[in-house]
């Protein structure tokens, strides 16, 4: 199919315990149209055992796991925040 040739680039960032578990702070990955935040998480976390709650933000806004990614999006995965 024609549109399966479309490749989008996104930046994925990790923080706190999730960054520790994955072993990096950020990476660029290629995705195809139709990919959700949940799809990205399943992919990047497939080799780790992370059982805690995962928060997800796209372009610095909290989103839910059904969020449909766009080209050049910055997606971030992190545990619940503990500042202040």
């Amino acid at each position: 199919m024609y549109h399966s040739l479309i490749i989008m680039v996104i930046v994925v960032k990790y923080f706190a315990s999730i960054s520790d578990a994955i072993g990096k702070a950020s990476e660029k990955i290629n995705i195809q149209p139709g990919v959700t935040a949940d799809d990205v998480w399943s992919d990047v976390s497939k080799d780790i055992k992370y059982t805690g709650k995962v928060m997800v933000a796209v372009n610095h806004e909290y989103v839910d796991m059904n969020y449909l990614l766009q080209d050049h999006d910055e997606i971030a995965f992190f545990p619940p925040v503990t500042g202040g």
């Binding site: 923080f15 610095h60 503990t82 500042g83 202040g84």
Partner: protein, 152 residues
């Protein structure tokens, strides 16, 4: 409004003096100021904490703090406000967060400062990693943090 993420030890009251001097001199409609300062304790969950690493998500932090302050400013008729938050390595008794709001009447400032602190604790992307005798550990969120936070 003033927001600053600070990567070194700071004197919160000195910051207030300076901000007041530069920004608030002529605001004679201000009747109230409410300030909250959070500092690092040397004990958490029963263990002695030697030091703590404050991580954050640059860019999202600033935009989220701005969002939190905007919301309280409108809700409580706030005339001015500042939020300072420390990142990096902190040791016991170090200031971590300062929130100050100015308003005409006291109810507004009291409630705005409180709401900003609660929102900051549950929404702003900061994380604390404690150094104890048993090693490093990430601080668990407060139990009253909302469950649907990721869907906000």
């Amino acid at each position: 409004m003033y927001i600053e993420i600070i990567n070194e030890e700071f004197d919160p009251w000195q910051k207030l003096v300076e901000y007041k001097r530069s920004q608030l001199k002529e605001r004679t409609n201000i009747g109230a100021c409410s300030v909250f300062l959070g500092t690092m304790r040397d004990i958490n969950s029963g263990d002695t904490i030697k030091s703590m690493e404050l991580q954050h998500y640059p860019d999202m932090t600033e935009s989220y703090l701005e969002k939190i302050i905007d919301s309280s400013t409108k809700k409580f008729k706030i005339i001015d406000s500042i939020v300072l938050h420390r990142v990096g390595l902190v040791t016991p008794s170090d200031p971590i967060v300062l929130v100050a709001t100015w308003s005409e009447h006291r109810d507004e400032a009291f409630e705005a400062t409180r709401q900003i602190m609660e929102s900051l604790k549950s929404e702003a992307p900061f994380w604390k990693k404690e150094s104890t005798d048993k090693g490093f550990r990430w601080v668990e969120p407060e139990t009253n943090q909302t469950d649907n936070n990721s869907e906000v």
